[in-house]
Amino acid sequence: MQTRTTAPPEAPAAANTEVDAVRLDGVSKTFAPVRRGAAAVTALEHVTLRARAGEIVAVVGPSGCGKTTLLELVCGLIEPDAGTLRAQPAALMAQRDLLLPWASAADNAALALRVAGTPHAAAREQAAALLRDFGLEGFLHARPHELSGGMRQRVAFARTLLAGRPVLCLDEPFAALDALTRMQMQDWLGAALRADPRTVVLVTHDVEEALVLADRVVVLSQRPGRVVATLDVPSARPRQRTDPEIVALRARALAELDSA
């Protein structure tokens, strides 16, 4: 697969693994109570995490452990209360595909380009080229409701790539899909990222997804989220889910999650 995305000049070369693209040191985030009398919610507590340029770091944890907060921090949508955070410009792909229902697949994928000031026709052309690479040749003019769940996530991923940021924050991108489609999409995403390497922070509650895709898996505890384990995934890509090494790591990660 070939992608024609152009990253901005500050995007690091994938080979340069000594640069930290994302670095969190002792980051905490507490949300003010939603109404008077309610308790403040500490989403993240003293989280330290780094992703070298070109690395894929997966963050797994029980629901409500502040995974989404972590991504919003990396993307600069919210500010940490304590600790330091340095990150290269990051694009967020949310759990919901958030496609505009009135726009075609090509126009949806082109949204980031249009925000960046690319003229409509040129943006659409560039987005269409990427969608063709993603196997959506016949669906460029289809509206989101005419696409399957997997197709919609591919359009959303194209939109995220076309934002042209060196870091991608993926928030449970395949959580809404059925098991079989999810597995196909995981393999597809792995291939897409090999073709267009970026630094990725992938949040998921699916340990297998994390192990298939990531270089490193960070396990978070129940709220407030703290890092309880970091697992390096050594094996080469593409990975088999049945590889003994993956199976062993999966057992370890699940044990860590259990005790977290």
């Binding site: 949508l77 967020l92 949310a94 958030l98 009135w102 949204l111 249009r114 925000v115 960046a116």
Partner: protein, 244 residues
């Protein structure tokens, strides 16, 4: 099809009631008499219809321009919202039968007070439904735009405005329902032509069938506008009907 049958039954019943009940044509004309008036007075009805249709069309157009402008201003600026929104709500509390003669005194017997009345009545549903639709835009979509580095204006133009289009159409539909009533009330406050004026004149002249014919034309016009808008809605906002 079923509507046509019900309508046919009603008309037949009405005809029979007037025919066999010995009702005076001056009190309640039979459908056949109204049909005859439609044919006999067609020139008169047409001239006055053109006047009233113009009042309604221009009034709605004015309400759309002003309403959209106000809705966007109120949506984009918190201080304008605090300053304007209470006034907008007050505009709907003004009783049309009271304000209409005052506007006639101010503007005279021409088209202007009618357009103002129709616009005043149509303005409110358009503003409220548009502001509501703009406010209800998915918060996650706004967050997405923010993460892409979009400006306030880009978020409005690319996301909020299209998302609010179905709301605007709903407001326009609501205001259509009030527009013809407003036009007639405005004509009653002082005018020399229009279907409302014709009704007012026909009754003392014992032309009851003509008055009914005028009302029939007005109703048909409203229905046509509504159908046209529904058609436009299907073309403009097809996604609002699409299964999600």
């Amino acid at each position: 099809m079923r509507v046509a049958l019900v309508l046919l039954g009603l008309v037949a019943g009405w005809e029979a009631y007037v025919g066999f009940g010995g009702i005076d044509d001056l009190l309640l004309p039979a459908p056949s008499a109204i049909a005859a008036a439609l044919v006999d007075d067609r020139a008169l009805l047409w001239t006055n219809f053109v006047v009233t249709a113009g009042e309604i069309a221009l009034g709605i157009a004015a309400a759309l321009v002003l309403g959209l402008g106000c809705a966007i201003a109120v949506h984009l600026s918190q201080s304008l919202r605090r300053a304007l929104y209470p006034l907008l709500v007050t505009s709907q509390a003004i009783p049309v039968p009271v304000i209409a003669p005052l506007l006639v005194v101010w503007f005279g017997y021409d088209l202007r007070p009618k357009i103002a009345i129709v616009a005043l009545v149509c303005f409110f549903p358009i503003v409220v439904s548009t502001v509501d639709a703009l406010d209800r835009c998915d918060a996650d979509l706004r967050k997405l735009m923010r993460s892409l580095g979009a400006s306030r204006w880009q978020t409005f133009r690319l996301v909020e405005a299209p998302a609010a289009l179905p709301g605007l159409v709903t407001g326009a539909k609501l205001s259509l329902a009030f527009a013809s009533i407003a036009a007639v009330l405005a004509e009653w406050a002082g005018s020399e032509n229009g279907l409302g004026h014709l009704v007012l004149q026909a009754l003392p002249q014992f032309e009851t069938a003509r008055a009914y014919a005028a009302v029939l034309i007005l109703a048909a016009f409203s229905l046509t506008l509504f159908a046209a808008l529904s058609l436009a809605e299907r073309r403009l906002v097809p996604w609002a009907r699409a299964p999600r």
